[in-house]
């Protein structure tokens, strides 16, 4: 039984969310192949299994809103409509990438889409979100910042300083905690003395809510409500979404710290299959329509991959540009 009312979510939006989740899944799956062939160097932190969070939450945003992302940020960028070609090229270190090949997987930004940047330092996007919200406040703009972070970040000073500052000034921020239960190898049960991170909201006098992060519709509706609250000037909300990365911390992670049965249990909760089954169940989409979306997404990924392959590497002198504005 659904714990929330999905009647306000249009069929078109649900189908779009399915498409976005498939984009993330197929994009990242393709990057794994590249990494195995050593065409991508450096760590790739994959979002596979967590797609409903980025897609559901970003679907609740409006034009002019901002997102701060994390080291596991591909999903957030794609959910915001990021250019798959520029993303793939960036991950491959090409000049045609989002950051001219200088940022890589952990530093993709697209200011035009409102993505202030992925971030290699856990929790560091949170004070930046506070600043972007101050800017909105001072400019009297009716927009919000969607600030993604994880269970690991909830133990950093960034989290506590940012939530405190956002709460005292009632800043328009939706703090979205993707609790995937592991900070690299450390289980959140070993690093937190509480079960639900959302109760930390109590310390700052703001609402906190724990939701199912593998349910795109629940994510969407919860974020939409928090966004509305922020736009109304009522301040930030802390959403904690329970989810799981079904791959390791990074591609080379042998994943010795958790059991196969635990992974199987979470794979069974695949957010993409879940939304597809829902769409088929409500007859909002047919098998053929779903298959058509999958084919189209695959073609987009093929094109992005080809674009990255055919793009050139930067020349050494490009290391010396963009140090100062």
């Amino acid at each position: 039984m659904k714990r929330f009312d999905v009647s306000s979510v249009s069929k078109e939006l649900k189908i779009k969310m399915y498409m976005r989740m498939q984009q993330i899944r197929m994009f990242e799956t393709r990057t794994i192949e590249h990494a195995k062939q050593k065409l991508i160097r450096g760590p790739l932190h994959l979002y596979i299994g967590e797609e409903a969070n980025a897609v559901g939450a970003c679907a609740a945003l409006e034009k002019g809103d901002y997102v701060t992302s994390t080291h596991r940020g591909h999903g957030h960028c794609i959910a915001m409509g990021g250019d798959l070609k520029k993303m793939f090229a960036e991950i491959c270190g090409r000049t045609t990438g989002y950051c001219k090949g200088k940022g890589g997987s952990m530093h993709i930004a697209d200011l035009d889409l409102g993505i202030i940047g992925a971030n290699g330092i856990v929790g560091a996007g949170m004070p930046i979100a506070v600043g972007a919200a101050i800017a909105m406040d001072n400019q009297s703009r009716k927009n919000v910042i969607l600030c993604f972070f994880g269970d690991g970040a909830s133990n950093t000073g960034s989290f506590h300083e940012a939530l405190n500052m956002a709460s005292i000034w009632k800043l328009p921020i939706v703090f979205y905690c993707e609790n995937n239960h592991y900070a690299i190898s450390t289980s959140s049960s070993d690093s937190l003395n509480i079960h639900d991170i959302s109760i930390r909201a109590l310390s700052y006098g703001i609402p906190g809510k724990t939701i199912d992060g593998n349910d795109a519709l629940e994510v969407y509706l919860t974020t939409r409500e928090a966004r509305q609250r922020a736009v109304n000037g009522e301040g930030p909300t802390l959403i904690e979404a329970k989810t799981y990365r079904t791959i390791g911390h990074w591609i080379g992670d042998p994943v010795r710290y958790r059991t196969g049965s635990e992974e199987e249990e979470w794979r069974a909760k695949c957010p993409i299959r879940r939304l597809r089954d829902y769409l088929l169940g409500t007859k909002e989409a047919t098998e053929a329509e779903i298959a058509h979306i999958d084919t189209e997404v695959k073609a987009e990924i093929d094109e992005a991959e080809r674009f990255a392959r055919e793009s050139s590497d930067p020349t050494p002198d490009e290391a010396l540009s963009d140090i100062y504005a």
């Binding site: 901002y66 940022g103 940047g117 930046i128 600043g131 001072n138 500052m165």
Partner: protein, 327 residues
């Protein structure tokens, strides 16, 4: 020209930029009614309101990060970090975020923020409130670093820093806040670009390269040297990053002797960088003596006033080193 204090000059720069540009706002601890730990922002909240003179919780890390975030999204924040010792708390956001955003995002964003802070010893505030940590921030590409020594420079350089599209660390000198100096009347604009040194005293016999509160000490020492017939040139570099290397190199080529004076600890201090700049340049061939550094001792700043005074360069120490170089 009228005379105002170093603190007043900084306040004037802030007020003028805030009046001229609605994107400029202040963020910091006790900068509102209290007026800042050193009184720099006194009266500003009354004029500009609490949104633009934002008193913050004790969160140097988040204050600095918030400035970076606001700067990335169209504002021009000026942060006050009460003591430069607290840079240690703000450093993650400053060094990993603000300094790198422009580069790592391929030039998509700029971070036009200023972090003002108060550095230096001499107030009896002991180990954790007296350090000179400028070398730490000079070591991070992407940051600019300014340390003014006069009210005139403080006002002009702060205005340039606020207008600069990059993160600028602006280190004020506690012991100079009450010092007066000539500054043009408000409204009389003057421009001091970042990266241009100022020859505070022209001379021919020895080049003394310095900055911050050591500038008046070096000038005093130069005056005493003049009494002995030694004509010292005193260069106030004013901005450490970017550094006006040609000014230093040309001076040393002329005098053949180079001495560097700073309050910060000697080891890995900024003086080592300046010495290397000279040694790496054609000025090397003009040297008649080794390059000499007069710097703070490699100790924490102690509490007792005699001890405190003994660990940083004094006029006597500067004088002795200069005379030794000219033997």
């Amino acid at each position: 020209m009228r005379e105002i204090t170093y603190a007043e000059a900084i306040r004037e720069a802030l007020c003028e930029e805030m009046r001229a540009d609605s994107r400029v706002f202040l963020l910091g601890e006790d900068i509102g009614i209290y007026g800042g730990a050193f009184g720099v922002t006194k009266g500003m909240v009354q004029e500009f309101g609490e949104e633009r003179v934002r008193d913050t919780p004790l969160s140097e890390h988040a204050i600095t990060g918030a400035a970076a975030g606001a700067a990335m999204t169209g504002m021009r924040p000026v942060v006050e970090i009460m003591f430069s010792d607290f840079l240690t708390i703000a450093l993650e956001q400053l060094a990993n975020q603000a300094a790198k955003a422009h580069y790592q995002f391929g030039g998509q964003v700029s971070v036009p923020m200023v972090l003002r802070t108060a550095g230096g010893s001499g107030t009896g505030a002991a180990e954790q409130h007296s350090q000179s940590l400028e070398a730490w921030v000079c070591h991070v590409p992407g940051l600019k670093v300014v340390i003014p020594s006069t009210p005139y420079d403080a006002k002009g350089l702060l205005k340039s820093s606020i207008k600069d599209p990059n993160p600028v660390v602006f280190i004020e000198q506690k012991l100079l806040y009450r010092q007066k100096g000539p500054v043009p009347d408000p409204g009389q604009e003057y421009d001091i670009p970042l990266g241009v040194a100022d020859v505070k005293r022209a001379g021919t016999d020895i080049t003394i390269v310095t900055y911050g509160r050591m500038v008046p000490r070096c000038l005093e020492a130069a005056g005493k040297l003049a009494a002995d017939g030694i004509d010292a040139e005193v260069i106030d570099i004013r901005t450490l990053v970017p550094l006006d290397k040609p000014c230093i190199i040309e001076s040393v080529k002329k005098t053949g002797r180079a001495m560097i004076v700073h309050e910060a600890c000697r080891t890995a201090g900024f003086g080592a960088e300046i010495a290397a700049v000279i040694a790496d340049s054609e000025a090397f061939f003009h040297l008649d003596a080794p390059i000499r550094r007069v710097a703070g001792l490699d100790v924490p700043i102690p509490y007792n006033p005699q001890l405190e005074a003994s660990v940083v360069p004094t006029v006597e120490k500067i004088l002795a080193a200069a005379k030794d170089l000219l033997r």
